[in-house]
Amino acid sequence: MTHTPAEAQAETEVTRRGFLASAGVVSSYVAAGVAGFAGGAVTASAVSASSLCTQSQLRAQEQAATIPFFGDYQAGIMTPLQAYGTYMAFNLKSSTGIDQARSMMQLLTDDAARLAVGKPTLPDGDPYLATEPARLTSTFGFGPGFFSKLGLAGKMPVGFGELPAFSIDKLQPEYSGGDLVIHVGADNPLTVAHAARQLTRTANTFATPLWSQTGFNRPQYGEPTDQTGRNLFGQVDGTVNPRSAQEFDAQVWASSGPRWFHDGTCLVIRRIQMDFAGWDKLDDTKKEASMGRRLSNGAPLTGTSEFDKPDLEAKNAHGLSVIPAFAHVRRANTGKDTEKFLRRPLNYEDGLLPSGEPNAGLIFAAYMADIQKQFVPVQQRLADLDLLNTWITPIGSAVFALPPGARRGGYIGEGLLG
């Protein structure tokens, strides 16, 4: 049997795609109608691409890939996690009333829609930085202060509000709170920085910058797409995320409460500082016991692959629980479907702490329809007991209500501000 190189290439691609399609993660994202994932499927074949020409073409495709800005939902939530991201919070100026807030959201929408297709914003002084969208998404949300300052307290979503104080928290004001959040994500860090600066210009007219947190993840391309990303402790993070459209409907998109918030969602951002000096002293057995999952592939200690359901009843030869009582998986695990949510974390590394240790950790970003019902019970259990607390400290916390998506000609937040 003889193949021309082109045929061989085509066959390899088909085979890989078939494989990817059979993997749960990919097929469910496709089923969920997440545009832009096609980019991921195409780029997976980069692994087998033999010619430099093909590889450079694929890289160009990755940089040119776009995620639609307009739609029922805001982009950047259901979108498969990009490699880089920044969350920025602002407080409204005292001069910003509802008319100015509306103006701000109209301008931010215009900026974001242009950037999403690789075009500069209207006043962009660096337009050439806009030309590689690399799956750029810009997502907007309102903190509790947005509602109270604008006289909209009566329109707050059900179950939305500040988190209770948790015993493990050592919150710092420079990473906490905010009236407005802007989240920018893309597979190119230069794209993220440029978009963040463009959107910041617009926000700065109406609001004052409060904090900015930038982080990173493993790129999706050129890697097995059937495994969840890892945090800086090497743990597989995000295994039980919703993946199908049905799961997103059940966990993420609001369908009750004020009408303007339907198809919106709530965002909880927690900055989790990691103690590497302590963590490095543990052997693998202790690391795995604290999590309840294997470091190699994220499988629960009672299973063999990442997506196996943890068996919390399983006992070892000594009659002890295989997944210990203090393990993160057991404490976070819930039999209740009402206590599940989407995690879209970013790792951060921002230089050194005064001690010389890395100033690094996790920007934990979780999305759910109802914070009180879905998030607070889980976080409370983790605060009460979770061995991981020994090496992690929440140092920032903020909550935001993210409106639904906008139609072309409309703007994000129109249902609330229109």
Binding site: Q100, Q106, L107, L122, P123, G125, R201, T202, N204, T205
Partner: protein, 168 residues
């Protein structure tokens, strides 16, 4: 009664227009109807407050000429009520003999080459507002009419934007 009268008048007007159109066709070979260039991404540099000597700003946009012949942007008129009473000008920024960048009126207007587009942007071509009588806050809109060398005009709406990313 009033409605039916106006409907009749409208019908009459339509007939007149139709006859006029027929008359035009009859006059062939007349010069083809001049084509109006298009304007997109129209914006104006915001002026949050009027300060001494700073009561001016520029309008920026992309102009596209779909025709086979060059067209020039030769003028503009403000149509925003109470914004200014001074005539608008078409400007460019050039390097002067002393090496300093300076703003000056464009001789003959801004050329939009045939089948091409030209972008007016900060530091380059712009439509100049002088002697503003009120501020132009970020996000507000102003309207103006562009005037082209082929006799056509175009009403545009410019959204006010800040240029500096950290103006505060």
């Amino acid at each position: 009664m009033k409605n039916s009268t106006s409907a009749t008048q409208r019908g009459f007007s339509l007939v007149v227009v139709a006859i006029a159109a027929l008359a035009l066709v009859g006059c062939a070979p007349a010069a083809p109807e001049p084509v109006t260039p298009t304007a997109t991404d129209v914006w104006i540099k915001a002026v949050p407050e009027l300060m001494d000597g700073m009561a001016m700003t520029g309008v920026f946009m992309t102009l596209e000429n779909p025709t086979e012949a060059d067209i020039e942007l030769v003028g503009a008129k403000n149509t925003t009520e109470g914004l200014t009473e001074t005539a608008m000008e078409i400007h460019e920024v050039v390097k002067g003999d002393d090496g300093e960048m300076k703003m000056q009126m464009v001789e003959g207007g801004i050329v939009i080459p045939a089948k091409e587009s030209v972008t007016l942007k900060p530091g380059g071509y712009h439509v100049m507002y002088w002697d503003l009588l009120k501020p132009i806050p970020v996000g507000s809109h102003v309207t103006l009419t562009l005037e082209f060398s082929n006799g056509t005009t175009l009403d545009v709406d410019a959204v006010a934007r800040d240029i500096s990313t950290y103006a505060g």
